[in-house]
């Protein structure tokens, strides 16, 4: 669901194809019949953006038919936990949870939630604020965390308590009947029930079901909740932490995982720690640690991660006395993500931009983003080919149409040519968190340089420019540890390129080392919170355990692919674990759930966890180990709690903290929808969805007669993203040379459109032109008794390249998921007409 795997991840699909040959059943739920559907045993049509309704229907089916994996649910999830009496569900409040309040002025949200009422009910009352004040007096971070440990949560292992998570979940989804699923999604009941039967029959001790998703689930104003729905379902079915189970995110770029881990993202610093934030209680390092550390579970080690990170930033200048340079570190004070940044840029608030291998001129509400680029004083683009972003000032539709003249655009633009993967050495982290090293095979041509070269050279220049500054604001850059030049005499001799940084030195800093001896760290277990260890990214710690042994460079596959975890091919963070929470692959007593699904188990003789993977559990903690009351970290968990990162060691069906838009997923309509929310007529959208106000960013109203057709955007096998890496390649250009819009013969007939006719597609933002591809692979759906047409457009084209075409993102809107600010381009409203 939410993924067109055969098209967008064909080589990952190789394993699905092999599984099919071994008898696996493949189900594809998608608005369009795609190349994945073609391979599926069952294709399930649905209206774009209604995944939560569909999955919620499955959850209800599982609960009402008692198909859940009881042993797993009781022991490994928080199903038995009792929730606060003040919590009120969407069923009580007509579509919103308790805690909804108005957002502060000037925010990009109308409402936000206060999650105070969503919390576990404790066995005794607990005053967090008071505990925090006490903790501040502690002498060490460890003692501080100790004082923050809350009392245990109330539980009912029978799952019968009306305030138990299990009963709350049951009640929350009680109206997601097959009838309602059909009315909302358009998927016929019999097909839905076939899915429900297949999935439940294929889950349990002997079998597992896996869900695979991609942007079809994420690019919505409730994207995170969609994945949450699946997590809930998979936990109920006992499919998490087990081989052949889980929820597989198919990510889209070579190291999109790595760039999230080593985050070129505004909201987080290394290893998934929150970025210091002026809106939170982050004033000092102590405040930060008190706010961000979960005292129980593995995250209790956050002080060690944070201090080691600060040491990697500021080196010797970071001392306990100056809070390890915490004050020099910038703090965020708002949403600086892509879309609001482009809005700010359009308003002239952003003056300069450095853009590497990304193409905002073709991104969401692209015309608005191009307009924003014109407000910049300067723009640096680094890419392999001339992108739309580099050339907006002379080649964009606005300039080509004469609306704007290059002479009127002030932006100074630099376009640096890039080296390509074969011309650079370094690592990529793939979608399964596997870090792989790629060797440099040849020098890049001309002035092409690696991106690391660019940033290194820029840093050296800036360090020099700031060397003599005495201003306090420049302390950060002055003290920034920048030791990436090759040691004298070690620079490679077989290259004409000079000034490259030493990649192994960069990895050393990411991996971490003993501050004094510079000895490489072998695992994040060695990290300290006193500054004696330096480590940029705790989750990558262990990738480079000793000199000459970079595990990302391991290239020894399992013989005959058995057992197939391939622990000696690349390195998967954390600690080379291939399946997270794999303790759940064994039953509470530590034995495999079944021989067929054997993966990690407790070896009583050796007194340790063994199996085909690196156990994601304390290596020698026996299944019968009791939890230590009042303890911090993993000691707070018993030997039957596989979810070690969670405060209670359990998989969360109900999510008390961490989600902005509710502890349980709920069906909402996309921001633009042709139908009203049948579940909650009074609450059409996610109440706290983000929307960025701009005259060029308007939305169609609900069931807008001018925009009656659902538009979904997507990618094709033959191209990559906005096409900068494919539309310049003749071999790929010829495979899909032109932009098209897929529509059903029924819609085409209604609109008088023939195959290959030019069609104008209009949304509330703008209109573009594409060729019609009339195909029975698309079909009209019956939504609550009304015919709803869907059309689809691949978004790979732009105005540069061998093959060009209109920019589909000119149609999309800047609206965002409240958790992560991802946009909603999978479900929009549009109209189509034949171009005269």
């Amino acid at each position: 669901m939410g993924s067109n795997m055969a098209e967008n991840h064909p080589v990952a699909f190789r394993w699905v194809a092999q599984a099919k040959l071994n008898g696996t059943t493949l189900i594809h739920v998608d608005p369009r019949f795609t190349r994945t559907s073609a391979m599926a045993d069952l294709y399930v049509p649905m209206r774009s953006g209604t995944d939560i309704a569909f999955l919620g229907g499955l959850i209800r089916y599982v609960i009402e038919h008692e198909k859940y994996f009881k042993d797993y649910v009781v022991n490994y999830t928080n199903a038995a936990t009792i929730i606060n009496d003040k919590f009120q569900d969407t069923e009580d409040l007509e579509g919103v949870f308790s805690g909804l309040k108005e957002a502060p002025q000037g925010s990009d949200q109308k409402y936000i939630y206060d999650n105070a009422t969503w919390q576990y009910k404790r066995v005794q009352p607990w005053d967090a604020a008071k505990a925090r004040e006490e903790a501040k007096k502690a002498a060490t971070f460890a003692e501080m965390i100790q004082k923050m440990v809350p009392p245990a949560a109330e539980k009912d292992p029978t799952l019968q308590h009306p305030r138990s998570v299990f009963q709350l979940v049951r009640r929350h989804f009680s109206r997601y009947t097959p009838e309602l699923v059909e009315r909302i999604t358009g998927c016929p009941q019999d097909v839905f029930l076939k899915v429900a039967e297949t999935v439940t029959a294929n889950s349990g001790p002997e079998r597992t079901t896996t869900f695979v998703y991609a942007m079809g689930w994420t690019q919505h104003t409730y994207g995170v909740q969609t994945i949450g729905t699946t997590a809930l379902l998979q936990l109920l079915l006992g499919n998490m932490g087990r081989p052949g189970g889980g929820i597989l995110a198919l990510r889209g770029h070579a190291t999109i995982q790595g760039s999230t881990d080593v985050p070129t993202l505004y909201h987080s610093i290394q290893g998934y720690m929150a970025h210091p934030d002026a809106r939170k209680a982050h004033d000092t390092l102590t405040d930060y640690i008190l706010t961000e550390t979960r005292p129980t579970g593995y995250w209790a080690n956050l002080p060690k991660f944070m201090v080691s990170y600060l040491k990697s930033m500021y080196g010797d200048a970071a001392t306990p006395e100056n809070d390890f340079g915490y004050d020099w570190h910038p703090k965020i004070a708002g949403d600086y993500s892509h879309m609001p940044t482009m809005i700010a840029m359009a308003k002239g608030e952003v003056k300069g931009a450095l853009i590497f291998g990304q193409n905002p001129a073709t991104s969401i509400n692209a015309a608005l983003q191009r307009r924003a680029l014109m407000q910049l004083d300067w723009l640096v683009v680094k890419d392999n080919f001339e992108t739309e972003t580099a050339s907006f000032w002379y080649a964009s539709p606005e300039v080509k149409s004469g609306q704007l003249k290059p002479e009127d655009i002030k932006t100074e633009v630099f376009l640096f040519p890039s080296a390509q993967v074969g011309e650079v050495e370094g690592t990529f982290t793939n979608t399964q968190r596997l870090i792989q090293f790629h060797e440099k095979a040849a020098d890049p041509p001309g002035d092409c340089r690696s991106d690391a070269w660019f940033t290194h050279q820029l840093a050296l220049r800036l360090k020099k420019l700031y060397a003599d500054s005495t201003l306090p604001r420049d302390e950060g850059i002055k003290n920034l540890l920048w030791d990436f030049d090759y040691e004298p005499g070690t620079y490679p001799t077989d290259t004409r390129i000079q000034g490259e940084p030493d990649v192994l030195k960069i990895i050393r800093e990411i991996n971490g080392y003993q501050t004094g001896s510079k000895e490489l760290l072998k695992s994040f277990g060695e990290l300290k919170d006193d500054g004696s260890t330096t480590c940029a990214s705790w989750i990558y710690c262990g990738i480079y355990p000793e000199k000459g042994k970079l595990l990302a460079r391991s290239r020894e596959p399992d013989p005959d692919n058995k057992p197939g975890t391939n622990l000696h091919w690349g390195y998967a963070w954390p600690a080379n674990r291939r399946i997270l929470y794999n303790r759940a692959s064994a039953d509470p007593d530590g034995n495999p759930w079944s021989e067929r699904k054997k993966f990690i188990w407790w070896d009583a003789a050796q007194k340790k966890w063994v199996g085909y993977d690196v156990p994601d559990f304390a290596a020698t903690k026996a299944p019968d180990t009791p939890a230590k009351p009042g303890a911090t970290g993993l000691d707070a968990h018993d030997g039957k709690s596989p979810f070690i990162m969670m405060a209670d060691g359990k998989g969360w069906l109900f999510v008390p903290v961490g989600l902005a838009d509710g502890p349980l997923p709920t069906h909402y309509e996309p921001m633009e929808s042709p139908v009203v929310n049948l579940l909650y007529p009074k609450q059409q959208h996610n109440p706290i969805a983000k929307y960025w106000q701009h005259e060029e960013n308007q939305l169609a109203v609900v069931a807008d007669p001018n925009f009656p057709i659902v538009l979904t955007t997507y990618r094709l096998t033959e191209h990559h993203l906005a096409g900068a890496m494919t539309r310049w390649l003749p071999w790929l250009a010829e495979l899909q040379p032109e932009l098209f819009i897929e529509m059903s013969p029924e819609l085409a007939q209604e609109k008088g459109i023939k195959n290959l006719d030019l069609v104008r597609i209009t949304t509330k933002r703008r209109s573009i032109v594409a060729k019609a591809l009339v195909t029975p692979r698309l079909r009209p759906l019956m939504i609550d008794g009304k015919v709803v047409h869907q059309v689809g457009m691949p978004w790979h084209w732009g105005y540069m390249g061998i093959v060009t075409g209109d920019i589909v993102n000119d149609l999309t809107a800047m609206v965002g998921d409240p958790n992560v600010s991802i946009h909603e381009s999978k479900a929009l409203c549009c109209n189509v007409e034949r171009l005269q």
Binding site: A17, F33, T717, A733, E734, L735, P737
Partner: protein, 276 residues
């Protein structure tokens, strides 16, 4: 002599990704048509249209849906030279450019071909065409160079779903039959093999598992060798030539007879006058 080698293309697992097309072009350094700037065909996801001198692998897309969508399939098939055991192209080639290799495959030697294009017309599958860069006839070589080095052909190596399988023909036939049995057991009654036995041109060294009639995939149901027409056609022509010769002779004889008769008449008349 090495063992006969070839492809078994199992269309039931083809995802139409076209990796085979690109891997083939990359290995054989074949150009894109018109530098990649080609029009959208509107025929499903097929924009490379056909096999040609620069397109040695071609993925076909066939959309089969009932009007109410209660049933529907999207068939895909990666087409390629069949490396026929009885190869029409090899028969007609006048220069000896087309050869049968030690792997029982059929290869066009580009440095021998003079571009007469007889092979193009002879191929029952429309595989061969002129490569505009070399101006010689070209087609899949089954990566003869890679095979000689013990490597897997580029397309088969790239194919993510094992739709394109490469190996000794005898092994591939076993795989194919097992897969067919599996599909038929799953109720895919339309599944069939094409070219796996000797009924088609003595066997195709690149054979297929299809999910429908061959014609649906653009394959002839009964491909034949061009040479089948040589004897009857030449015989009729030879008979015609003889007939023409006879006709001419008869005419000449008649003419001569007429002439003789006329002369005789003339003579008679002359004699008569003389006599008279």
């Amino acid at each position: 002599m090495a063992e006969p080698m070839g492809f078994f293309t199992d269309t039931s697992v083809c995802i139409g990704c076209k990796a085979c097309e690109v891997a083939c072009k990359a290995w054989n350094q074949l150009p894109a048509r018109n530098g990649g700037k080609v029009p959208l065909t509107g025929q499903s996801y097929d924009n490379t249209v056909e096999l040609s001198g620069i397109q040695w692998r071609h993925v076909k897309f066939i959309e089969q849906f009932s009007p109410d969508r209660s049933s529907g399939r999207w068939l895909m098939m990666s087409d390629v030279c069949k490396h026929c055991v009885q190869a029409g192209c090899l028969e007609v080639c006048p220069t000896g450019a087309i050869i049968r290799t030690e792997f029982d495959t059929v290869v066009i030697q580009s440095d021998v071909c003079n571009g007469c294009r007889a092979c193009i017309a002879a191929c029952p599958f429309g595989v061969i065409d002129i490569n505009p860069e070399t101006n010689t006839a070209m087609k899949c070589t089954l990566c003869y160079d890679r095979m000689q080095a013990g490597m897997v052909p580029a397309c088969a190596q790239a194919c993510p779903t094992h739709s394109i399988q490469f190996g000794p023909i005898s092994e591939l036939r076993q795989h194919a039959e097992a897969r067919l049995a599996q599909l038929q057991a799953q109720g895919v009654s339309q599944a069939r093999l094409y070219g796996h036995d000797e009924s088609i041109l003595g066997g195709l060294n690149s054979f297929y598992l299809l999910l429908d009639e061959p014609e649906v995939y653009g394959l002839p149901s009964n491909p034949q060798l061009p040479s089948r027409n040589v004897a009857p056609s030449a015989g009729l022509s030879a008979a015609g030539a003889v007939a023409l010769g006879v006709l001419g002779l008869v005419g000449l004889r008649k003419q001569r007879m007429d002439k003789l008769a006329a002369e005789a008449r003339e003579q008679q008349e002359g004699d008569g006058s003389h006599a008279g």
